[in-house]
Each structure stands twice: as C-alpha cells, then as structure tokens.
Subunit: 394 residues, 2 copies
Amino acid sequence: MTYSIEIEKSNQACDILKELDFDAWLVWVRETSQMADPVLDLILGADLVWQSALLYTKQGEKIAIIGSLDADGIRSKGIFDKVVTYDTSIRDVLLSELNRFDPKEIAINYSKNDVSADGLTLGMYQILQDYLKDSDYPNRFVSSEQFIGKLRGRKTTTEIELIEHAVRITEEILEEIRNEVRPGMTELQIYHRIHRMMSAKDVGSAWHPDHNPAVDAGPNKEFGHSGPTDNKTKRGHLLHFDFGVKFQGYCSDIQRMFFFGTPDMVPDEVAHAFRTVRDAIQLAADAIKPGVTGNEIDTIARDYVKEQGYEEFRHALGHQLGRLAHDGGTLLGPYWEKYGESPSGILEPGNVFTLELYVTTENYGQVSLEEDIVVTREGCRFLSTPQKELVFIP
Amino acid sequence: MTYSIEIEKSNQACDILKELDFDAWLVWVRETSQMADPVLDLILGADLVWQSALLYTKQGEKIAIIGSLDADGIRSKGIFDKVVTYDTSIRDVLLSELNRFDPKEIAINYSKNDVSADGLTLGMYQILQDYLKDSDYPNRFVSSEQFIGKLRGRKTTTEIELIEHAVRITEEILEEIRNEVRPGMTELQIYHRIHRMMSAKDVGSAWHPDHNPAVDAGPNKEFGHSGPTDNKTKRGHLLHFDFGVKFQGYCSDIQRMFFFGTPDMVPDEVAHAFRTVRDAIQLAADAIKPGVTGNEIDTIARDYVKEQGYEEFRHALGHQLGRLAHDGGTLLGPYWEKYGESPSGILEPGNVFTLELYVTTENYGQVSLEEDIVVTREGCRFLSTPQKELVFIP
C-alpha cells in the first residue's frame, strides 16, 4: 500500500472539513512550477500544468480534475479517489463534479491574514467565477483560512520527526562551525563554509539561500534580511547566526550568539542582554499550552523585555514552522495591522513554533536568539537545545 | 557602478510604462519566500517579508516601500531611487507615495491569460482595496498583463546569452548521456546519471526535478509530466528526453529522440514520424518574424502534421523561455479555452520561444522534438542545434 505524507495530510484535510462542517475545499491552480499555491507541497508534492481543480469533501472523497498530460503522474501518487482529465477545457468536467456533491459552501484559498492560505491568484479567481457563472457556486465561496490553519498547523508525528531532524542537523552544523570560526574571518567566509556543510549533509535552505544563514559580525549591523558581507569578526565582539535547513521538505529555524573571547571578557551590557533574551524565551515557553492565544504568549516575552529596560522587538515572537520556514496560521505576535488576525489564533497540540527575539545593546549591537518548540497536550517541548550561555570562541 | 539584470529590467520597466502610456505599475506582495509573484525574480532577485509595495512610474522613478528589516538588503541592490520603510503599518506610507504621483491608472499583477502576470493573490488584493478605500485608487487598477508580457518577453542581450548558455549545457549533457546509455538501462538509471551531470556542471533544474529530465523508454508511455520509471530501454525501441537546466537563473527546454539500433533498423513509421516532427518545427521557424501572431505560427505546424496523416498534438507549439521554463506572455498556440488570449499576442524581437510537438506512431509510441529559438529583426535564430536525425545508440 502506498504511503506518503501527502496522503496523510489529504486524509487529514477531509477530517478537518468534517470537524469544521465545511462541505468542500477547492484548490484551483495552473502552471504551478511558476506560481504554486503554498498548500500544494503539503497535499500533492507535484506540479500541475493546465488549469486544475483538487476537490476534497467532508464525506472523505478526494477528486483531481486535471489536464490529460498530468494524469499519469498524479494517479501514481495514490492520493485521489478519482482522477478526471480533460484536453481543451476544464469547465464542464469541473461543473459536473461539483454538481455530484452540490456543496453548500466551498472553501477556496484566499486570506488576508495568512499567506500560506492565500494561494489563489486574482486572475484565477476571475476565471473560476467565469466558468461557474451560470451556477450558484460563486455565492458559496468562503475563505479556507481557518481550515488551512488547522491542516498546516496540526503536524502529524511524521512531520514533527522531520522538523526535529532538520533542527538536529542545524545544530550539528553550528557545532562544526564553532570549531572553525576565528577572529578576523568575514561573514561571507563563514557563510560559504556553512553552505559547504549543508551540501555535505545534503540538506536544502529553509529560506532564500542569499540570506541563509544570516551571519552578523560586530555591532554595526541590524539583524534583518540582508545577506552576509565582508564585515570581519573581531576579538571582544559578538557573532550572530539566523539559520535554517530543509530536510525532506521540512524546515528548522534557529538563532545563536557567539562571543570572541573568554567569559570574563563579556561586557555587562552584553551579559544582561543575553540573559534577558534567553529568559524571555523560557518565560514564553513556560506559558505555552493548548487553548491560549498566540498574542498571550507574545505579550509575556514582550513585557519582560520592556521590564528589563529595553525597547520591544519589532517583530512577532514566533511563527509556525513546517514545510515553510514561516508556516502561516496562528502567530505568536502583537496586534499590529500587518499581522492581521493571526495573533488571535488558539494554540493546538502539534503546532510547531519558533520563539525568537532580540534586544539592542548600546555598544555591541543586537543580541538575538531563536528556539523551536512543539505544542504538546500539557505544554510544549523544545525541538532545539535552548542556548543558555554565549558560545565562546577563544 | 552597480550593474545587474534586475537593474536592467527595472529600467526597461519604466521605459515600457512610457511606451504603453501607463502612469504606474504597483507590485504588491508579502512573505515572498512562501508565495512569490513570479515577476520578482526578474526585477528584484530577493525576498520581501512584510507587506511590500514596489512602485514604478512612467517618469522613470522606482520606489520600494518595505518593512524596516528588509531595508538594508533592498538598498544594497541599487535598484530603487527611493526606499521607504515602515515598522507596523504600510498604509500611510503607501498612500503618501501614491499621492506624490497621483497616477491615473495603476497596473497591478492579475491576468486571466498569463500566469506570469498573475502574481497578486486574492487576499492581498482585498488588503490593498481596504488600505486605499478612502481614495480613488481602487478604481484606477488595470491589469499589467500586456505590460509584463513585454517586460518579460523582450529579452535583453544579457538574458539571451544566459539562455543560450543554458541550452549549450543541456546539449553537452545529452551528448554525454548518449555515450553512456545502453539497451537494458531503466529510465530511472538514466535520469539519475543526468542529475549527477547537472550537479557536476553546477546547474539547476528548469522545472520540478521529479520530472526533469522526462525520460521515456519504449512505446507504452504518454509523454507528459510523469516522472521516470523502471521501464527498460530496448534494442529496436525509441528513447525520449524532455530536459531543461537553469543557468544563473535562466532556463533551457529541449526534447531529443534516441533510437537503440542502426539506421537500417528504423521502422518506416518511425522514420516518417520523425521527419514530420522535424519538418513541422522547421516550417514554423521559417515563418517566425516580428509582427505575426503566436497562433499563425502554431497553425503552420499543426496543419502540416495533420496533412501528414497524424492527429494534432494536444498542446501549444511553443511557449516563451526565460527566468521560467514557461515564461508567460504570447503563446504559439491554438485558440483553446485554457490558453485564453495568449495565442493572439504579437511576436517581438528578443522573444525566446520553444518549438515543440509530437506525433503518435502505431507501434513505437510517440515521437517528439523541441527546439529553442529567439525572434530577430528579420526572422528567428535557433539557440539549440536542431535535431535533424535520430540519435543512434548501437
């Protein structure tokens, strides 16, 4: 019998439809090698060329309506109960499959809050409306945001194992690089060494390789999304990494702080900043459990940082982690406009989150850490080994 | 002075706005590592995390309105005249930049016909409408389809050189594999050897590596988008490749036919099929010149194949090639519903197209070839070396 994560997630999709009492979910795409709905990796793991409709019902039926040239590849996946093909126009076959179920509401992939549930393009939406204009279906479309949040967020045990494996490889590489970095090396030299280690371990990059790993040496760089430079590491300075790998399609994402020198050389302001970041993460982790909102967790870390006399960090405390480094759904974040409704989501067992934040010192730049955790029935479990002290490079 | 293809294409963008008399073009995106508007590779070559607006005007001004954490990386690209940053909400800065120009129409990326011009998601479109709802701008949105068709389709000389280089590497690999394949090898064995050659030459895959190269041995496989199998090559049988690499971001895409045996062993039906496909491609190439429609070129090849007694091929004769293997815009295709308006586009100098088609034999499966050409001022030039005879494997 065929087994794959895609089959596991497709079955989960029908279960969640039933749980939410949604009649049907429609994934409507074309030419996915150029513009892929981010949900496709999760439920299909293949490309579709012509206009294609993947239809899931709460009765548990999974139907692919696809171009004839895609049929062999999709059938061989063993995901769908029925594969309907066409050559020149999908309109009639799509309508006839919908008519078999006559769904009262059809979840489609648009969302203001969640990029991972917003895979439908405006042009494709207009085409869908055209095709179905003589039916009542266009009035039955609803956002799949809540549905995809659950589908993506509730990691199966297989998915959690893969993320944990990705985290372990990330930590191994950081341990190797710890033995190689010396004062005077540039960010770019360190970056290239890490890329060679990634190749040797046959893992991909969890986000755009241009700025993965982020390598930030010394006090004069804001940690963001710029790439490594010719800035040199220096005795008495900090070195920061933001690094994630992709292992069999699943991502890690952690941040670590190195210090060039011995423990007695660490300036007080750096030591205090480090403790603040480390303890804020632990306080947040201690509060995580099913049923709390993402915002409640963010607030704990954010308030603590402010109590310690720092400006609050200008990003969310944590995002979900999975097929994507930013895996959508509930966010551990503040209610800022750009985050939409995502901080009001409720944590569920199986959700995997990052916990990350920085504070800014006066003379030594930013101090930033990031750990990965999974929500359990009682609380949470760290997937990474939390950094408790600076890593000292002699 | 900084130079990059992204700068070249961004300048070209402003020129085309002027030519088409569009006041402004707005690229509106977020979290592009998860869901990237396909135009971003062309004009930016970087990811954006928070909601971001890239604004181009026909006066030649290029403005990036982006999250503060993205600012360093984007500034260092040297593309934009102005980089405006924000921390919690983009709304006011976006509105204030639009007000500086008060554009009468704003091209945004949606298109029914062209996936490469359809990068705006429905959720992001709704957010944009919300943000601008107290202004008249939502009434001024127009599709950027025609604009992006020209921007993507008019390859610069740098872009053509890169595609040509990708084609050359593809042909080198096919020449190497010619010396390695023997009857009895499976499709998967050949596929894996080609992947090793791609790694050795440090090139990527022009489309999903699961079915690139397509390797089709013997008569019983429809050439489509399914991956290689354990089917074995066999003396007296055909072997088909559909293969493209990505070199410095630019793609090739060619198909080749091998035959296991000597020229005298080729069955008449195979010989006739091969000549038909080869000659149909040449006839189409002979007719290509600026000013003709994509459909006119498709019709020439399609009619010839039917005259020769075959069923017509169930796909378009040719698609554009560039950053993407299917690079959008004008298509050399029939007027089938799924192709929308794209076959009515007009060929322009600098357009790079594939020319590809198959016919089906009675006993030996499909015979299919694909070449790559660039439209010139007078006609077209082959970027690939057209296959004129079957490649014989002893």
